[in-house]
């Protein structure tokens, strides 16, 4: 059975002749939480832009919910299925008020005025953009809010899959957790979330599946746990598992090698103690 998003034998070469992706085969189903990781130049962003049809395959194919991204006039069909949030919100805010900004996508797909309004209100609410801000120019909002408006403007198109390029770059830990908890809630609500990121602790806490790329090819594609259990492979694309995972991997079998968070380390410690107690 084919999945919601099917990437098969995808090659991508930039118009200037620089090849970026080679024979990528990935399928992503409903309600997944995927992280694309890898060194700069590994092809993360290129792949994510191929997934939503911004870049067309040089060869091979990308099929989203049965729609081939190479088809003519598929832009409007694609954006209601797969949304893309750019890293810098300034690149995607081009209206003179927050309300118009969020309404921009729904208007493009020719929804009725009433439907547009309903979508704007809903998306703003979900993304935590207060209606008081509707008439504000996005330019004057702080960065965190600009990013929320950017996400709301994509949510208003109701895509089942949302790709977010570096959601936590330039944010502090608390803001990062805030935006990730928000993406998590969208995931809970049934969306598929794909993030492109360099922050491994974020990956460990939120992503259920990791696709690691190296020089335009898939290096690893597995559960987060399985991927971080292979530090030697990851090193090929200059990625290190989170610190606590690396600690676990140094403990020579005292703990599982695939611990992802401090909480899991604590659990491992508790069970190590209770195992002793039972034996005792």
């Amino acid at each position: 059975m084919s999945q919601y998003l099917e990437v098969s034998h995808l090659d991508y070469t930039y118009p200037d002749g620089t090849p970026a992706l080679f024979d990528i085969n990935v399928s992503i189903g409903e309600q997944e939480f995927v992280a694309l990781i890898g060194q700069n130049g590994s092809g993360k962003t290129t792949l994510s832009k191929c997934m939503n049809g911004l870049f067309k395959p040089t060869s091979g194919s990308v099929i989203v919910d049965g729609i081939d991204t190479r088809g003519k006039g598929v832009v409007k069909q694609l954006v209601t299925r797969i949304g893309y949030v750019f890293q810098n919100p300034d690149h995607q805010l081009f209206n003179d008020s927050v309300q118009k900004e969020i309404a921009y996508g729904p208007r493009n797909i020719n929804l009725s005025a009433a439907e547009v309004k309903a979508r704007v209100d809903e998306a703003a609410k979900v993304a935590g953009v207060s209606t008081d801000l509707y008439t504000t120019h996005p330019f004057f909002l702080p960065k965190g809010l600009r990013q929320r408006v950017a996400i709301a403007s994509i949510l208003a198109l109701k895509p089942r899959t949302i790709i977010v390029d570096e959601p936590t770059t330039g944010q502090d830990m608390r803001q990062s957790i805030e935006v990730m908890e928000f993406l998590e809630s969208l995931w809970q609500a049934g969306h598929t979330i794909i993030i492109v990121t360099h922050e491994m602790s974020i990956v460990a806490h939120y992503a259920r599946r990791v696709i690691a790329l190296r020089q335009g090819r898939v290096l690893l594609d597995d559960t987060t746990r399985a991927v971080f259990a292979q530090p030697d492979m990851l090193r090929q694309t200059y990625v290190e598992p989170p610190q606590i995972t690396r600690v676990a991997q140094r403990l020579d079998g005292l703990t599982p090698r695939d611990i992802l968070t401090v909480e899991e380390m604590q659990d491992a410690f508790r069970s190590a103690v209770s195992r002793i107690e039972k034996k005792g």
Binding site: Y14, D16, G17, T18, P19, A20, Q39, N40, G41, S42, G43, K49, N52, G53, L54, G73, V75, K76, V79, T80, G83, Y84, F86, N88, D90, H91, Q92, L93, F94, N95, D96, Y104, G105, N108, I109, F139, S153, I154, L157, Q215, G216
Partner: protein, 303 residues
């Protein structure tokens, strides 16, 4: 796309390198010459067509430029990006002259099927087109065989004040940043369901107005950051240093003019002057001397 040691592209031993304005070969015989020599060549090819009406000579200049590009190891495939410009200019120029040729009793009407065109303005446009092409190719040659630094060194060697060459460099760089932002914004728009192929012309124009919002907001934020960066580096835009001394110019010391450079510069300047004298003194490059013009006039029976 950056081709760097860290990127996968590095392994493929790039022959070309992206500059702010185009692509230049990594190695080229042009680099043996001083940037000033190359700038003089550019001025020669780019400006000399002003003196030349004859399309044959301008066409020959275009051919010469292409030969120089080949010799300079430039990748001619990259020139594809200029094709739309070359074609669009032709379409515009000829459309204008076909649709609104003007009305002059000396014009010779030529009937082509149901349409009537006038020979003189059409031939004049044809000649002007090749003159423009010669200038355009001269520019392409310059930007395809000169790295950013070469341009700066050329300007500074000619004793342009530091601040002027700095502003030139900075503008070129700003243009590059602008174009990159522009393409990202267009992508972002497509990601919001805008299908440009389905837009009416009026809406496309409106769209360009919309781009201004993000472009300006990004530019504003950048301008702030850049002025802070300049402050942090101790620069005050006078071209003088703190103690009032003149700035040293380190980059310039890496280049020296050779005998070959002087020979070329002298030759090109003389040729330039000769062309100017031939045209303004003797009308040597007027359209009346154009063989194609003469042939066509004979064919059409124009006296």
């Amino acid at each position: 796309m950056a081709i760097t040691a860290e990127a996968p592209g590095g392994a493929r031993a790039a022959k070309m390198r992206k500059t702010l304005l185009g692509y230049v070969p990594i190695e080229s015989p042009f680099y043996r010459y001083h940037p000033v020599t190359r700038l003089v060549l550019f001025v020669f090819i780019g400006v000399v067509p002003i003196f030349i009406d004859m399309p044959e000579i301008n066409f020959a200049l275009v051919v010469l430029t292409i030969l120089l590009l080949l010799w300079g190891k430039a990748d001619l495939k990259r020139l594809r990006i200029y094709m739309p410009m070359i074609v669009t200019i032709a379409i515009f120029m000829f459309l204008v002259v076909f649709l609104a040729p003007g009305n002059d009793p000396t014009y010779t009407p030529v009937r082509i099927g149901p349409a009537t065109i006038y020979y003189q303005p059409v031939f004049f446009t044809f000649a002007s087109y090749w003159r423009l092409m010669a200038m355009l190719f001269g520019t392409i040659l310059y930007f395809s065989t000169n790295r950013e630094r070469d341009m700066l060194v050329a300007l500074r060697s000619l004793k342009l004040p530091f601040i002027a060459s700095y502003v030139v460099g900075f503008s070129i760089r700003a243009a590059g940043m602008f174009m990159e932002d522009f393409s990202t914004i267009r992508e972002a728009e497509q990601a919001r369901g805008l299908d440009k192929s389905a837009l009416k012309l009026a809406d496309q124009v409106k769209l360009y107005v919309m781009y201004l919002v993000p472009l300006f907001s990004i530019a504003l934020r950048r301008a702030d950051e850049i002025s802070h960066a300049l402050f942090a580096r101790g620069y005050n835009f006078t071209g003088k240093v703190g103690r009032g001394d003149k700035r040293s110019d380190y980059i310039l010391t890496k280049y020296t003019m050779t005998k070959a450079d002087w020979a070329w510069v002298t030759g090109l300047v003389l040729a330039f002057v000769a062309a100017a004298v031939a045209e303004y003194g003797y009308g040597g490059f007027r359209l009346v001397h154009s063989p194609i013009n003469i042939l066509l006039r004979q064919a059409l029976g124009i006296g």
